[in-house]
């Protein structure tokens, strides 16, 4: 009895990879990211540029939009025929044109 060839292939792995399965130096982490740096004396220095800060927008309670849009409203396609660079909504020329028309200040 042998497993099928597809199961023997490299990308397939039935068990999750742990630090015990691999050579030393493998850091798996928990996807949280660091908040600072280790010092060479074994301490830890917190870098406040790395510490997560969540900015709550003002007047959030008065905000009326929801994560949902009514099913009765059909999604529309945008018109980006003005963007001659064929970049559509990502066109920098269009961005600049709109800035000139609407802002032009900062």
């Amino acid at each position: 009895m042998r497993p099928t060839a597809a199961l023997l292939g490299r990308p397939y792995r039935k068990l999750r990879l742990t630090t015990k399965d691999i050579n030393k130096g493998f850091y798996k982490g928990n996807r949280t990211g660091s908040m600072g740096t280790h010092t060479k004396w074994g301490g830890y220095k917190i870098d406040y540029d790395k510490v997560r800060t969540y900015v709550v927008p003002e007047n959030l309670n008065e905000f009326t939009l929801t994560p949902f849009v009514s099913q009765k409203i059909r999604p529309k396609w945008g018109d980006y025929s003005e963007a001659t660079d064929k970049m559509g909504p990502r066109s920098p020329a269009l961005y600049l044109k709109r800035w000139k028309e609407e802002n032009g200040y900062d």
Binding site: V55, V56, P57, L60, F63, L65, T66, P67, F68, V69, S70, Q71, I73, P75, K76, W77, G78, A83, T84, D85, K86, M87, P89, R90, S91, P92, A93, L94, Y95, L96, K97, W99, K100, G104, Y105, D106
Partner: protein
């Protein structure tokens, strides 16, 4: 003289209470706690102790002999527990030491009222719940629209997108709380609807990120484009960056063409033909 015992059921438990009323005790002449002298007159002992007799109380002879509190009737199989049954709540044969003591009653408290007094109805943590309920019904969670499309979000300002992102986060918190509650109380339904709702919110959040990323790259390239634009001087200071072409004199136009030599294609100074330049710009941008 012992008082008659009454076996009642209270809150699903077997309780023996003592009737304090002496007249009731005298009417119960068939009680098994009757004096020994009267046992000859008494009827066969009954397992149902409270049986108000129709006989007049004067037929009971007076006796000062204390009750032994223990019946001496021998059953045919010598089983002392004959007839004692939990199922039909016969009660124990002999009174227990606590038989005269009533069971403690729980305090008469309206828990909902108490909770309403102690819990702030406007507490921020209530935002984790739908209408302060543990979880909404599957029908309620299924009632939602579609997600926002990127095209719709392109028209929104930064502040709107920021707020919409937070609204989405709160909605996801509510969905996750309801899912947790369903698991905790083993409701066994509504997971599918909750997951579908979550997927729609996630799609909206993904569209928000799409919009903002696209806007960022467009701005990045637009700044490069602006440096080549004769109408725009980014070093001029705040509020001075843009001078429309209509207000430029001929000399200034020529000057602007000299300072931006790549621009000088004929007399007209249109915004640069974006096809060729934007390709260069696109190559420089980190996409």
């Amino acid at each position: 003289m012992a008082a008659a015992t009454v076996v009642r059921r209270r809150a699903g438990q077997l309780v023996q209470t003592t009737l304090p009323n002496a007249s009731t005790a005298t009417t119960c002449s068939t009680s098994r706690f009757a004096p020994i002298a009267s046992q000859a007159q008494a009827q066969a002992p009954s397992l149902i102790p409270d049986c108000p007799s129709s006989r007049p109380s004067s037929s009971r002879p007076f006796s000062t002999t204390p009750s032994l509190g223990k019946r001496r009737v021998r059953f045919r199989d010598n089983n002392p527990n004959r007839g004692v049954s939990v199922l039909y709540r016969s009660g124990p044969r002999e009174p227990r030491s606590m038989s005269r003591v009533d069971l403690p009653r729980p305090r008469d408290v309206d828990l909902k009222k108490l909770a309403a007094e102690r819990v702030d109805p406007d507490h921020g943590l209530w935002e984790f719940f739908y209408d302060k309920m543990a979880a909404n019904t599957p029908a309620e969670s299924g009632e939602h629209g579609r997600s926002w499309t990127v095209e719709e979000l392109r028209a929104k300002s930064w502040d709107d997108l920021h707020k919409l992102w937070w609204v989405c986060c709160k909605e996801r918190n509510r969905i996750a709380t309801a899912a947790n509650m369903r698991e905790e109380y083993e409701m066994g339904f509504g997971d599918n609807e909750g997951d579908e709702r979550d997927a729609v919110v996630l799609k909206t959040m993904k569209s928000i990120k799409h919009t903002l990323t696209e806007r960022w790259y467009a701005w990045e390239d637009a700044v490069k484009l602006a440096k080549e634009d004769p109408e725009i001087d980014l070093t001029a200071g705040e509020g001075q960056a843009y001078t429309p072409r209509d207000y430029l004199s001929e000399e200034e136009i020529v000057e602007a063409q000299i300072t931006a030599p790549k621009k000088g294609e004929g007399t007209s100074i249109p915004p640069p033909p974006p096809t060729s330049r934007s390709r260069d710009v696109r190559g420089g941008a980190k996409i």
